[in-house]
């Protein structure tokens, strides 16, 4: 087999293996990580091609501490929010914290990637009404030891959003 053909096999396999790897990593994280439930607020539906994302804000219950004076002009700073043993936000990796999420402090608000939206297939008007009128809205996260979080579920008044969608 020519060198070119060998390289071509690698070139075709590489994206497939990378994408499979990303799926594998996410699956592992969802199953093996710690679960954390946090209240959410806000609602910003947006139509997409085949459904829409439910966008919300997580209520962490704690604000970012004042930033240390820094020479950099970055508007956001890397931060960690610890949940166990007690809730706090720090700008360095928290010590003696068994459950934390990695994110950033944008001014005084803590934000973390990947946990501010949930995909809803097809337009579900009834779901919109349910969400806005619900008393208790929570997001169920799976959090790794390195502080990376993924959304497992949204719970509206004690019921999983997946069950609600199936009922619609």
């Amino acid at each position: 087999m020519l060198l070119f053909h060998k390289l071509f096999i690698i070139a075709l396999s590489f994206p497939i293996l990378c994408l499979m790897g990303i799926v594998g990593m996410n699956e592992y994280q969802l199953r093996k990580s710690q679960t954390l439930t946090l209240p959410i607020q806000g609602y910003d539906p947006r139509d997409l091609l085949s459904g829409y994302y439910l966008r919300y804000r997580v209520k962490y219950g704690v604000k970012c501490p004042e930033k240390n004076k820094s020479k950099t002009k970055r508007r956001s700073k890397l931060a960690y929010i610890c949940f166990k043993p007690e809730k706090s936000i720090t700008y360095s990796l928290p010590e003696n914290c068994s459950l934390f999420i990695k994110g950033k402090c944008d001014f005084s608000a803590f934000q973390s990637k990947n946990i501010n939206r949930y995909y809803i297939p097809e337009r579900a008007k009834e779901l919109e009404k349910l969400f806005t009128s619900a008393k208790k809205k929570e997001v169920v996260l799976s959090v790794t030891k390195k502080g990376q979080a993924l959304v497992k579920d949204i719970v509206i008044d004690g019921e999983s959003i997946k069950k609600l969608i199936n009922r619609l």
Partner: protein, 380 residues
């Protein structure tokens, strides 16, 4: 021009005789396989219609499809397509369909990132998607012999990288500093691929489309950078800073590109034109980022920067590219005129003087054409 008209001209010029003309016409009518482009067009419409219909059916029932079925279906499609492309390559039987399917494979990789993001509710910025897509398809793009895949890759990389810089760094000057150097980087890569050793070691069908794509991107990003530098040059100098980072960046890039041009197989005059363009570009970069320039100086430098590549392409008799740069010079002059507009009378006098100057220059060049040609040969 139709074939019959061309043949008539060839007969008049004495290139072919009547019997040869008849033989050519006969061959074109009967022997040459006709591409049934009409029928192929309808088939393409049918294929697109079927494809869109399938997408619509899947989208309508998206909720009903379990997550793992979606992922399994996607990977089966991707792997099957990859296997088909590999068998085509191994048999050296590339055709229009296989080339289109390779581009479809690349786009399917992007679709896969979107699907995974949707299934696992992964957020993030669009540039992250583009940079991931660029990373996983880089090797495939390198090994494809079509210019289009290079353009697709360069577009995603350019937008992804520029967006990343803009989001990661608040100071827009720093963003400009890095993205301004894209044309220099692309020029350097184009020149590096002109190296004779590389031409001997790598397959021509692979790197030639890359070189063409990079050259086009060098021109395209060059225009963007020049516009950005012109905008920057008008800003007041109280906010401008130029420091060690800039000189290190220019030194590294300049060294790389200067060397690549020097070792390219171009004639001396062509290399000098490129070297001159590079030096002027760096000079304008330093000026724009350190002081507030007046309109006249900014215009003058911009026109010089545009003139040198125009002459460069003229030496290759690339009329379209030469025309593009002349057009850009004209646009820059128009912007200058709008900027310094005093009165119709003054404008009229300036334009007449400019026309006179161009006319005299053209006449002088025509009169001394032989001496200029000899001087250019000496320069080579």
């Amino acid at each position: 021009m139709s074939l019959k008209n061309k043949i008539s001209r060839w007969i008049s010029a004495g290139l072919i005789n009547q019997s040869q003309a008849e033989a050519i016409l006969h061959y074109e009518k009967t022997e040459r396989p006709r591409t049934t482009w009409g029928l192929s067009g309808f088939l393409l419409v049918a294929a697109c219609s079927a494809g869109l219909g399938m997408i619509a059916l899947i989208a309508a029932n998206w909720r009903a499809i379990p997550i793992y079925a979606k992922l399994a279906g996607y990977f089966v499609l991707l792997i099957s397509l990859g296997y088909y492309l590999l068998t085509i390559k191994l048999k050296n039987k590339s055709n229009f369909l296989s080339e289109s399917l390779l581009i479809f494979f690349v786009i399917l990789c992007l679709a896969g990132i979107g699907l995974i993001s949707q299934i696992y509710n992964i957020g993030g910025e669009f540039y992250e998607t583009l940079l991931l897509w660029s990373s996983i398809t880089f090797l495939l793009t390198l090994l494809d012999d079509k210019e289009l895949t290079s353009h697709i890759w360069l577009t995603s990389f350019y937008i992804g990288f520029s967006s990343w810089i803009m989001s990661a760094i608040v100071d827009t000057e720093v963003f400009f500093k890095i993205t301004l150097q894209f044309p220099v980087f692309f020029l350097g890569l184009t020149m590096a691929l002109h190296n004779q050793k590389i031409e001997k070691t790598l397959p021509l069908n692979l790197f030639l489309p890359k070189r063409k794509a990079l050259a086009k991107w060098a021109v395209f990003t060059g225009f963007i950078s020049l516009i950005s530098l012109n905008i920057l040059s008008f800003e007041s100098d109280s906010n401008k800073t130029i420091g060690a980072f800039d000189f290190i960046l220019l030194s590294l890039l300049g060294g790389f590109v200067f060397t690549a041009i020097t070792f390219s197989p171009y004639k001396k005059i062509q290399k000098n034109l490129l070297h001159g363009t590079l030096l002027l570009f760096f000079l304008f970069y330093i000026m724009a980022l350190s002081i507030e320039l007046n309109s006249l100086l900014s215009t003058f430098v911009s026109i010089l920067i545009l003139s040198l590549p125009a002459f460069f392409f003229a030496t290759f008799k690339k009329k379209k590219l030469f025309g593009l740069f002349i057009f850009a010079i004209a646009v820059r002059l128009l912007i200058f005129y709008i900027d310094i507009y005093v009165s119709l009378m003054v404008t009229g006098l300036i334009l007449i003087a400019l026309a006179g100057l161009i006319f005299i220059t053209v006449q002088l060049v025509k009169k001394n054409e032989k001496q200029i040609s000899q001087w250019l040969i000496k320069l080579e």
